[in-house]
């Protein structure tokens, strides 16, 4: 599969900078389980993506679409079945464990559930010191303790917590505060790329905005790159520079954020956007595109276009061949569809016409 953001297109976009992280044709297949003839599950299927320095790439998709598997593959927590992952020009898939350790310093993760991702028996100080100890980032000999205390105090202030809380345990904090601790842990090694896997979906609505605000502030202070994974399109719209939409293991559309939300081209993106409830009654006038059924099983995906079984516009050709990510006009905008229509309104009209 070719990606549309190469060659001439790339020159026109912000991603013309050398990407910090580049995925090329990354695939992850899990062996099947159970049953007489278990089918392998193709969780990530031929994904190519770039993340530029200082950029936030949003990754959206419904549960089971492979977005979390993709983050695990990038972090080298599970091995890719094929494809290439380069970070700052260095190929990650062929590194030894020792070499990988050095790269992991630059590549950190903030996890979804701040209740499950902090060890309840460790003090905040110990939680934040662990990465520093593992990566030998502390001065040796005398003064180590004081240096550590100071370093951890600074980390805590940078995420908006009082440095004096470092002797407390996780249960003494609220969900939002715990997520701040999780972010401080990710920042302890001064990474360049942070993978945020649903970082606000376990938080109360009034606290979500605080954490998004914090992530943005940290990004501009430290010129971080984020891969921001979420199923929540409203959160993605607030934080991402570019958005990739994933369906059954594949990227079906990618564009700059405002372009994607204003002019979605893939019927799945359109349906996804139209399914989100909105507060503004004027916005609600747009037609909701109903998708029938659930996403098919990744163990037995449909032929051709993965989305065709639920697509209101599917034609015979869609079953024959898998659509590549075709250029959609705007810089960096690509969608994997043979028959794209313009926007949500376009799809509702086309569907009404076909009916």
């Amino acid at each position: 599969m070719t990606i549309a953001i190469d060659g001439a297109d790339a020159a026109a976009t912000a991603s013309a900078r050398t990407p910090l992280l580049a995925l090329r044709n990354v695939t992850k297949q899990f062996p099947g389980q159970g049953g007489a003839s278990p089918l392998p599950v193709l969780a990530v299927d031929d994904v190519s993506l770039d993340i530029a320095p200082g950029e936030t790439l949003g990754l959206v998709g419904e549960s089971g679409c492979g977005k979390t598997t993709l983050t695990r593959v990038i972090l080298q927590l599970i091995e890719a079945s094929s494809g290439s992952i380069t970070f700052d020009g260095q190929e990650l898939t062929s590194l030894s464990r020792r070499q990988l350790l050095a790269v992991r310093k630059e590549l950190q993760v903030v996890l979804q559930d701040p209740y499950a991702s902090l060890n309840p028996r460790m003090r905040v100080r110990e939680i934040l010191a662990e990465p520093l100890v593992t990566h030998h980032m502390l001065p040796r000999g005398r003064g180590q303790k004081a240096a550590l205390r100071e370093k951890i105090g600074a980390l805590l202030s940078s995420v908006g917590l009082d440095p004096s809380v470092q002797d407390r345990y996780p249960h003494e904090f609220s969900g939002g505060q715990r997520q701040r601790i999780g972010i401080a842990r990710a920042l302890a090694l001064e990474p360049r790329l942070v993978i945020c896997d649903e970082p606000v979906s376990a938080l109360d609505v009034s606290v979500q905005a605080q954490i998004l605000h914090l992530l943005r502030t940290l990004q501009s202070e430290r010129s971080l790159s984020y891969l921001f994974v979420s199923h929540d399109l409203s959160v993605i719209r607030q934080i991402a520079d570019r958005v990739a939409v994933m369906y059954l293991g594949q990227i079906v559309e990618i564009a700059e954020t405002e372009e994607l939300f204003r002019n979605p081209r893939h019927p799945y993106t359109q349906a996804l956007l139209s399914a989100v409830p909105v507060v503004d009654s004027a916005e609600r006038e747009r037609r909701r595109i109903k998708l029938a059924g659930d996403p098919p099983s990744p163990a037995n995906p449909p032929s051709g276009c993965r989305f065709r079984t639920r697509c209101p516009l599917a034609q015979d050709a869609c079953a024959q061949e898998r659509p590549e990510l075709f250029d959609q006009g705007a810089p960096g905008h690509a969608a994997a569809c043979f028959f794209p229509v313009s926007g949500i309104a376009g799809l509702s009209e086309a569907t009404a016409g076909a009916a």
Binding site: E62, G160, G175, Q177, S206, L214, L233, D294
Partner: protein
């Protein structure tokens, strides 16, 4: 006419570690064919309120200290377990957030619906089975005869929630309590389920109580809204009034801080500082006062009652309707500096949250 009415309900949970005042003076009425949304964050008392309409909060530790829960004029708080059983399922039914944990994994879906029906009506086995199949068909499940013989793990998340709805509706309740019915589901499936509930509401002339934290879903689904904070009702009005002209600073700030898909990037988002309070140690006066950008010294003196701020629009705030409208305008314009606004100021990103308050109730 209201089929379910809750009047001045107070309930507390008497735990070994202290008393949690989970419901403090909640009032609402549910009419047939209408949806009332109860909105709030975790620990706001919305689920405790929902469960109390079926007397499903475990007693003890839950004690109803005051108020009435009237279903067709009869007070549930004065009923014995036997009478309550007659109301649960047949009068008022409930669907829960997580359809996987609410279904029995080792029994077929059909037999679980049969059980619900048989509890209330004398039916032959064959008739009860037929009712189960009909119920599955009504909620849009294809091949209901075959599906009734399957187990919950053979259904997807959205289909399981349909099964829950089928079970809840099999006895034709007059009120359906839906506690975060789509939180565990993907957005495309959420849209299917909400449309189904809306359709069934009209078909069976049911009243729905929708418990949720999703403001946009409320805007789309509800006729009336009750906003709860720290176990208290803080705003009550028709849905469109709440979204057009909120009268309680909490609602205003929540609407302003929640990520919304219809707002472009950069419109972000004035976060509300701090986190929801601990119900075991409520702040003095108005429960929202420590986080409120409009708070005044008087706010710590007494708990403001829910009072009319406009026709049919109640809010619990000591500010006058004019002051509230001015604040709402300024918030919407992003300029936040009026004489009334001598609060702690806009929260900076590095603002520390208020003191740790443990987990949420």
């Amino acid at each position: 006419m209201a089929v379910l009415e809750v009047k001045n309900l107070h309930a507390e949970f008497r735990l070994a570690t202290g008393v949690v005042r989970a419901i403090n003076g909640v009032d609402f009425a549910v009419e047939q064919g209408k949806t009332l949304a109860i909105v709030g964050e975790s620990g706001s008392g919305k689920t405790a309120t929902a469960l109390s309409t079926l007397r499903l909060n475990p007693e003890p530790p839950c004690v109803y200290t005051d108020g009435e829960i009237l279903f067709e004029g009869r007070d549930l708080l004065r009923m014995g377990e036997r009478q309550l059983r007659g109301i649960r399922g047949r009068g008022i039914a409930m669907i829960f957030q997580d359809p996987m944990t609410s279904l029995n994994p080792v029994r077929t879906v059909g037999s679980q619906i049969v059980e619900a029906v048989a509890r209330h009506e004398r039916l032959s086995r064959a008739d009860a089975k037929k009712r189960a199949v009909d119920a599955l068909r009504e909620v849009g499940i294809a091949n209901p005869e075959e599906r009734a013989r399957q187990y919950p793990h053979q259904f997807s998340g959205g289909m399981r929630q349909r099964v829950m709805i089928a079970m809840a509706l099999a006895c034709r309740p007059k009120v359906l309590i839906a506690d975060e019915p789509t939180t565990a589901l993907d957005v495309t499936v959420q849209a299917q389920i909400m449309e189904l509930l809306d359709d069934l509401k009209h078909r069976f002339d049911m009243g729905i109580v929708l418990i949720t934290h999703d403001l946009a879903m409320v805007a789309e689904q509800a006729d009336d809204v009750l906003v709860m904070y720290a176990g208290r009702p803080v705003e009550k009005a028709q849905a469109r009034d709440v979204f057009q002209a909120p009268k309680m600073p909490y609602t205003m700030l929540l609407l302003n801080s929640a990520p919304r898909i219809d707002r472009p990037k950069g419109a972000i988002l004035d976060p509300i500082p701090g986190s929801p309070p601990n119900l075991m140690a409520l702040p003095p006066g108005c429960p929202f006062q420590p986080r409120c950008l409009l708070a005044r010294p008087e706010c710590t003196q007494q708990v403001p009652p829910l009072e009319a701020k406009a026709t049919g629009h109640e809010a619990a705030c000591i500010l006058s309707p004019e002051e509230l409208d001015a604040a709402a305008r300024q918030l919407a314009e992003g300029s936040f500096a009026g004489p009334a606004l001598s609060g702690p100021g806009l929260p900076g990103p590095a603002l520390a949250e208020s003191k740790p308050n443990g987990g949420h109730a």
